[in-house]
């Protein structure tokens, strides 16, 4: 009775991503499955229709069981799969539904993209979904209540290598001394001196960057409930990212995070990107 997609996908038309799961298939073929966006606290057993705000404009409604509700839309028992443009739209739509849920219910447990509850062995998708909500009712309610009044923020700190390099070269006494010494030496010795200077310079820059990360992390942790260290990214610019954090922050403590961001950005050669409030994708 597992609502797996695997059996459905084993058909001859499952040969390649381009030929399957066209967006319109999800609603027009057979809407026997339920795409789940997230879970909200819901005490009243009333069905809520959020309108056509879901993936590909699908109608999102609330399924309530006990003390929680699942935000869903009806779809075919087939995962969403497609090219970049379609995927981008889906990801944004998934996010918009959760943003709306967060502002309307004060808390939401986001589901991973493409979480689809399917019918199975004589049971409808609704029955499967309601069973799951029933079984996990208390656990889900505890989790969603635990996130009330909190949101996720993305904090990314980057630096300009050239600026940090210049600062270190101008300020580090050891390097200044080595520079002076190189001026008085023969060409061969000066070359060796410069090599050594480069080594020290690299070491000092690395040290500076490590300190920057530690400062950002510790300060972010001080005003957050939880902090996840994410992989740093490179956007092709001259900037190098030193910290990519996801922070779960109580909304009344957001000003502290904002002040931290401003303070970091106040230093020459450092750039900060602060995004949020977001549904707590990284903390559920």
């Amino acid at each position: 009775m597992i609502g797996s997609m695997r059996d459905d996908d084993a058909g001859p038309d499952a040969s390649g991503p381009d030929e399957r799961a066209l967006p319109e298939d999800h609603e027009s073929v057979e809407a026997v499955a339920r795409y789940v966006y997230g879970i909200v606290p819901a005490d009243a057993a009333d069905a809520v229709d959020l309108g056509e705000i879901g993936l590909d404009g699908s109608r999102v409604h609330l399924f309530v069981r006990g003390r929680v509700g699942a935000l869903v839309h009806d779809c075919s028992a087939h995962p969403y799969d497609g090219g970049e443009a379609a995927a981008a739209e889906w990801v944004l739509a998934h996010h918009r539904v959760l943003q709306l849920a967060m502002s309307r219910w004060g808390s939401v447990l986001p589901m991973t993209f493409n979480t689809i509850v399917a019918p199975s062995e004589g049971r409808t998708a609704d029955e499967n979904l309601l069973d799951w909500l029933q079984t996990e009712n208390e656990s889900l309610r505890l989790r969603v209540d635990g996130l009330a009044g909190k949101a996720e923020f993305g904090l990314q700190v980057s630096y300009e290598p050239a600026v940090i390099l210049r600062q270190v070269a101008e300020q580090n006494p050891e390097i200044l001394r080595m520079e002076e010494e190189a001026k008085t030496k023969s060409a061969g010795l000066a070359y060796l001196g410069r090599q050594e200077m480069q080594r020290v310079l690299r070491r000092e820059v690395e040290q500076r960057v490590r300190e920057l990360f530690t400062t950002v992390y510790e300060r972010a942790r001080a005003c957050s409930d939880r902090v996840n260290v994410e992989k740093v990214k490179h956007d092709g610019s001259d900037l190098k990212m030193v910290a990519n954090l996801s922070c779960l922050v109580a909304l009344d403590r957001y000003p502290e995070l904002e002040a931290l961001a401003d303070e970091i950005a106040g230093h020459e050669g450092q750039t900060v990107r602060l995004v949020g409030p977001l549904p707590p994708y990284s903390f559920c």
Partner: protein, 109 residues
């Protein structure tokens, strides 16, 4: 002074990882969170991130091997749990046969 703090609206770049790789996942009747990429999420993600190119790199091949092994273990564990259930119920995230599997450790709630 450095550049001022940038506070953009959350865009695709902020949401891809979060929406595709995180969040609650339904798997049989246990609830898990994945630190990494869920089944179909990775399939979709592969098209977005050019992961095939990345996997050409020896380090990425090793990573790929590792996550597949992890995912296999997870799938086997889930099957064992399912086999024990007299009345299994409900849902899993949509998955494709032969789809790339997730990375990261699953934490049973």
């Amino acid at each position: 002074m450095g550049e001022s703090t940038v506070r953009p609206e959350a865009g695709l770049v902020d949401l891809l990882d979060r929406v595709l790789d995180r969040g609650l996942v339904l798997h049989a009747d246990i609830m898990i969170t994945l630190a990494g990429i869920p089944l179909v999420g990775l399939t979709l993600r592969a098209q977005l991130a050019g992961i095939e190119t990345m996997i050409a790199d020896p380090q990425m091949r090793e990573w790929d091997k590792r996550i597949r092994a992890q995912a296999t273990r997870r799938a086997e564990a889930a099957q064992a749990i399912q086999a024990e259930k007299a009345a299994p119920a409900a849902a899993i995230p949509a998955a494709e046969p032969g789809a790339d599997l997730g990375r990261g450790e699953a934490i049973v709630a």
